[in-house]
């Protein structure tokens, strides 16, 4: 077989494999996670939702199945130290009030949620504790301390189904997020839906398009070797389509976060997931 033919054959095998999400099952430390389930009723154009894990290579997938191999855990260990560390004018650490970190089980599944009329992401809750109760400075939204902490808190919900509130007080925020999801922006003039709803499962150059689910955040990316916040990922996506990103922690990204979380209702929390 000549070289060119061999390359063609290899390429066609690759493209067959890349036609859709794979059928692998995610088991982490012996626990089976839900990476595929029926789409929630509000999603008009999609029948089945899949975790981004299902679109990654087997090598990347494997890293998430063992906490020792998962590079995100290095940062969660830093989170454990931060949790115990006294900071601010009140002489308190997180652990001063939250004696058992496991009490946060379930929190990740509900966020973002409306509190006092405002939409609050986990980063808001962490910084509220720091500024209001510890007398400490707020952490940067996507900084290393924040992602270490949101990763550690998120881990307590791993395996539990995403279950955000979208009705009642949350409805106007959810509607705003939905509108953003379908609005084209940037010089490339694309909406989230163009890639992640209409074209998930196909290759865009070297990348296998997923549904853009956020059930695994903060996520460890091989690309930058650190934990990445949800809003930082939104920012990266917007820059890719040559759009001026919204502000991390701003109303737009929080609304989009709520809408995207709701498109993943029923998927297991995978924090800290591993992606490329």
């Amino acid at each position: 077989m000549n070289l060119k033919l061999w390359i063609t054959v290899a390429a066609s095998c690759l493209s067959t494999a890349a036609l859709a999400q794979d059928s692998n099952k995610l088991v982490i430390e012996g626990e089976a996670l839900v990476t595929e389930t029926a789409a929630p009723a509000h999603m008009e154009n999609v029948d089945t939702i899949y975790s981004g894990w299902r679109f990654r290579s087997s090598e990347t997938q494997a890293l998430e199945t063992d906490d020792f191999d998962n590079p995100g855990f290095v940062f969660l260990d830093q989170g454990v130290d931060l949790f115990e560390k006294v900071d601010g004018s009140e002489g308190k650490a997180c652990a001063s009030c939250h004696e058992d970190i496991e009490d946060f089980a379930g929190l990740r599944t509900q966020l973002p949620r409306v509190q006092d009329g405002k939409l609050a992401s986990m980063e808001d809750l962490v910084n509220e504790c720091r500024t209001e109760r510890m007398g400490a400075k707020p952490w940067k939204w996507s900084g290393g301390q924040m992602t270490a902490m949101t990763g550690l808190i998120g881990l307590q919900s791993r395996g539990m189904p995403v279950n955000v509130e979208i009705d009642g007080e949350a409805a106007p925020f959810w509607e705003k997020g939905k509108e953003l999801y379908y609005t084209r922006v940037g010089q490339l003039d694309m909406a989230c839906s163009n890639c992640h709803e209409n074209n998930f499962g196909v290759m865009i150059r070297a990348d296998h398009l997923s549904q853009g689910q956020i059930n695994g955040f903060p996520t460890y990316r091989l690309k930058n070797a650190k934990l990445n916040s949800i809003h930082a990922r939104f920012k990266g996506c917007m820059k890719n389509i040559r759009a001026e990103p919204f502000k991390e922690g701003g109303d737009e990204f929080k609304a989009l976060e709520l809408y995207l979380a709701s498109r993943g209702q029923g998927l297991s929390v995978e924090t800290p997931s591993v992606r490329n």
Partner: protein, 151 residues
Amino acid sequence: MKRAFGLAAVAALATSAALAETVAPTNVALVDGVIKTSLTGQPGDAGVGRKVFANRKQGNCLACHTNSDLSEEIFHGEVGPPMDGVADRWSEGELRAIVTNSKQVFEDTIMPAFYIESGYERPLEKFAGKSILSAQQVEDVVAYLMTLKEE
């Protein structure tokens, strides 16, 4: 001194003559899915167009289209239709229209318009008011696409 000035004047004249023949994005005559004539008044260079097609900072067409003619590039996207034989399926005027502003040919397409400089929201500052490709790059890509024949 005089001679240098004269050369500069000639160069300036030549430049303005070339500019005068280039159709600005807002003046492009895209009618019934066709742009009949070159956007620059010049023919495209298929060799340059091949590079623009593959270049991630330029056309980056490979991000979404497979193309056997560029088999030396390892990753080809699958979002849009394959480019093999594209010249058998479309005329030059149709391809020029699709590359220039696909949304005026295919409603709701994901494909960006490569020769518009307004009409998109929230562009990053460095791209604001600019088209993705220049008029000549569009012509070069169209010339290249016209070489992709199977029949």
